[in-house]
Each structure stands twice: as C-alpha cells, then as structure tokens.
Symmetry: C2
Subunit: 322 residues, 2 copies
C-alpha cells in the first residue's frame, strides 16, 4: 500500500519535482565538466532559488537563442539558403527556361558565387513568396522531411547541437521560457523548430517577408520586411516578447546587440557565445568568416567575461550520438 | 486510508481535471443562458473532444482578442489616449510653456476637438518616446495604479468585462492560448494586461512605436512603426504567432480582417463580435461611431452567422459586480 501510494505521489509530482530531479541527475551530460558548465548551472540555481538575492520570478525567466550556428549548424551556408537552392532546382521542371535564365541558371548550374545581392533577393522572393502562408509552411515541412545535408548526408533536423538541446530542456525544466531570435525566416523556422526544440511558434522570432491579406487569405509577398540581425534583435525581442532576456546565446557578431542588451540588465545575467572551433566534428570559423563572423563579439565577450563555449573541448558530442 | 488516497489523487489532478470540473460548474456565470453562450460552449467542447471530428490539438488552440471595446471599455476614447492626456497635463509642471504652446495647450485646456492628426502624433511621440523601454513601462504602471476613469471614477483595470474574463479563463482551462491583438500600443498593454488577463507579455500584440538600440539600452523613438488594425491584424498574427487562430473576438470594423481570417480556416471556427448595446451599464454605439465603428463588420457577421454578443441582453454583469 505504501508503495502504491508512493507511486501515485511520484507520478503526480508530489515528491520529485523536475527541479529536484535535475539536481540529482546531470542535466547537461554532453557538456564537459569545466567552468563553462559550472557557471551555467550556478546561474540557473541562483535565479531559481527563492532565497537568492538573484532570484527571478518564472515570468521573467526569458532566454533567447540565435538559431543558425547556435542551435544547429550553418555551413556551408545557412540551411534556409540550401532550401532555396533545392526549390530552384526542383522548380526547373515546371520552368525549363530557368536553365538559361539568370539568376536561376546560376543556382541550377552551381555557380552561386555569381549571384549578386539583388539576384539573391530575386531567388528568395521566387521561393518564399506568392503563396498563402499555409502553403509555404507545407512546402518547408515537405522539404525538411526529405532533404539531406550535402556534406554530412544527415537530415537537417539531425544537425541540431545535442548540448544545446540539453540546455534548452534544462532551462525549460527550471521554468524558463525559451525563445528563438534568429536572422532566419520566422515561417521557415516555425515549420520544424517547434517539434525539434519544443519551442512553440509564437516564441520563434525571425526575419519577416511581407504579407498581404487578400479576401480571407494571407499571402506571402515579395521583399524582406524585417531582417532580424544586429540591432534588430533587441528591437524585435522588445516588440515581440516585451521583456529583456536574462540569458542569451549566440555565435556571431549579429548576436552582439542581443547579448549586450541581455548582459546589461540588472541582476544576474548570462550571455554566451558558441565558438566554432571543431573542424573535425563540425566546422571551424570565427573572425574571418564571410557569412557568420565572430570578431567584435569575441573581443567584447573576452573583455566582459561572458561565457565562451569552445565546441571542440567543451562538448562531448556535437549532434545526437556524434 | 482510502480517503487520504482520494485526497492525494484529487490534489494531484488525477481524478478531477479542469475540463471535468468545467462541465459540472458553470464556466461562464455572467453570461445569460441563451444561444450565444450555448454556441461558445459547444465550440469549446467540440474542439477539445478527442472523439470529435472537429478536435484541435492544444498547440493549435489559438484564440485572439481585440482589447479596446472587446476586453475593456473604450469610451469616451481609448484609455491609452486618456493616459496620453494625463501625461501632457502632468508634464506642464516641468514644461510651463506647454500652457500656451500648441498642440499641448489644446490638451491642457480640454480642447481636444482642435487636435489635427499630426498634432495627435506629436503628443503621442512626446508621451510615448524618448525614454528607455523600461522607463516607459514604469510610467504606464504608475499611471494605471492611480488613474481613474473620468465618467465611472473606476480604476481602468476595473473596467474590464467580467464575462470576457470568464471566457478567457474558460478557454485557458481548456488549453487554449489566448492572445491580445489590438490597435493599442504593445508596451502600453504589457504594463498591466498580463496581470489583469493572465496573458503573458509575448502573447500581447499591438501597435508598435519605433525603437532604437543605443549603447546597451533600448530606447523608444518617434513615430508609429506598425498600426495594428484591419489587414495588419491577420498580418501581425502571422508574423508574431505563426498560426491562424481558431477563435477570434472583436468589436469593430478594425477587427473584421482578423475575424475573416479566423473564420475561413478549415474545421470548426469561432468568430464573435461584441455589440455595444447597453447605454445604461456601459455605452451604446455601432455603425456611426467615429472611433470604433461597427458597420461593415456587423453586416458580415449577420451574413456569415458569426456570434454577436448583445451586451445589454447577453451579459448579466458588465464589470465585476456591476
């Protein structure tokens, strides 16, 4: 009888709450035991401890994560661009003239280096606009279910960082609300990220294409309305979340303003850069990268003593089981 | 022993879930028993019943509410304008020249009818921008704690509609996510609405002033970036929520596009207008109102058989105990 009672109490959460469990079971098993991991755990313990002077009420436990290069890989280029390329190549069946028509021909013939900035916008508009928002969501879902990464041959959703999945889960277990704040398209991410990261769509903030309400339907329409990078990140966090995060995670100079705004708030704050140092298991790049430069941000992080994750030495695995 | 066990099971939610409770206790006591109330309850029962062909998974149970005139009163003008007027009047102490300087003098001398559109923007910019986002939040919180409505003499937060509070709670108990989608300012609403409606700040969508990230701080800066009304409502719902609502609630033509988008989705949908018909307990206005016209929307609602709440006859009370 006692055992049955214990069982019921266990199941109903009366005895072991998640936060108690997380103190006995390592919440971050893919993180090497070192100061970075210790500081993350100390931060979470402090802001969740009602007796700590750094205690933060659950509704203010806002954590914001960049996506490309912070939660999943971004090489050889952001995966949304690989989606774009796949869609153009697929589109040549219905549009055979694309094979000779610039800028589509550049994509079809793998001459991406020839694309100008306005060419890029043209192929983005072609693949991302003109349909209803539901049709686009369906297209991204179909793509991500089947597409494989050109180098690893893994599905893209298997190229999310296992240590970051553990961190997301750990924060969630401690009543944080996790948000994505990315330069990637909001609709592109919302098609798969809620399932992969357990983050609901309203907490996924990204770049925005225009939309147009016609009749009773909402259409995606040409040109980028908001490019959610640099200063725009704290601005969009304010417009869409309405609170300053207490923890932020990024990997490039595009995340610097978000990390600065987070770090300069009152109380205890966590600002963290993921530093891509692992050429063997992932990619190695920072100050001179053309797409995701981490240069000024690295200086600020070193100067302000923000956490810097050395992917090569701080993470036991990069992807699940890898 | 059995009793103790039952007690534990009860406390732990194993026996009586909220949804079971809500079937035995009237979830909408301020709503008169009539077809409107019945249809709301039937809708909620259908979309939450796993055996119903209209079942909707919790993550898709998105409900969007206009605020002014839908969740709280909006007469003699939207309360954010009353805040603006109070701030200008208060500001004359530090700015004595305002007493003779247009357009501030119009506000101070109660000659609001003289304000042009650009005057209005000027006083909005004066009272809503120039400070950090945290300072503005503090100002709205201070105001709403002390301010009283000019006619009812009630605190503004006591002018929220009791039946709508019950509806918000009822939907929440049935695992809906409630969102505000209002023409009011997002920061203005977020200063008090999370507490009053139990809706977290990231689910409060409104009009946006510009912001500017300077140094490590975020400042509110002049001019309106997004006016969240008409077509902009479904557009912002998409940009900020990422899913089409299954239930929407409004009270003016400015909500029509939101209601249309909601109603035209697949499956069972709930689109509802609050019709201000009660001159004695609240205000009576619709087709000819200059600030919150309900004209075209009323025609569409009648034509499409959307729910129309007649405030006078459908609501037992308007405000709490009133």
């Amino acid at each position: 009888m006692i055992k049955r009672l214990m069982n019921i109490m266990f199941l109903s959460g009366l005895i072991l709450s998640n936060s108690v469990l997380s103190k006995t079971i390592d919440p971050l098993p893919s993180w090497v035991e070192n100061p970075v991991k210790t500081k993350i755990i100390e931060f979470v313990n402090s802001v969740t401890d009602k007796n700590s002077k750094y205690y933060v009420a659950p509704e203010d436990r806002v954590a914001t994560f960049d996506n490309d290069g912070t939660l999943w890989s971004e090489k050889p280029m952001p995966f949304q661009l690989l989606f774009t390329i796949d869609k153009i190549k697929e589109g040549q069946i219905e549009n055979p003239d694309w094979r000779t028509k610039k800028p589509f021909s550049y994509v079809i013939n793998n001459e991406l280096e020839k694309l100008t900035r306005s060419d890029l916008l043209k192929i983005l508009n072609e693949t991302h606009t003109g349909m209803t928002v539901e049709e686009f969501d369906f297209q991204v879902k179909s793509w991500i279910r089947n597409a494989k990464h050109p180098k690893t041959n893994l599905p893209y959703t298997k190229m999310v960082y296992q240590p970051m999945l553990e961190l997301l889960r750990y924060l969630e277990d401690n009543e944080f609300k996790n948000f994505i704040v990315s330069g990637g398209g909001n609709a592109f991410m919302r098609a798969w990220a809620p399932e992969v990261y357990n983050i609901p769509s309203e907490r996924i903030i990204g770049s925005q294409f225009n939309t147009k309400f016609i009749g009773s339907e909402l259409y995606r329409s040409p040109n980028i309305l908001i490019y959610d990078d640099k200063e725009e990140k704290p601005q969009q966090i304010f417009q869409q979340i309405g609170r300053r995060p207490i923890a932020s995670f990024g990997n490039s100079d595009g995340d610097l303003q978000m990390l600065k705004w987070t770090a300069s708030g009152s109380g205890l704050r966590l600002a963290m850069y993921i530093h891509h140092t692992d050429a063997r298991r992932e990619w190695k790049y920072d100050r001179n990268d053309s797409l995701a430069k981490l240069d000024k941000g690295l200086d600020v992080a070193l100067d302000k003593d923000w956490l810097i994750v050395d992917m090569k030495s701080d993470w036991r695995s990069i992807y699940e089981n890898k």
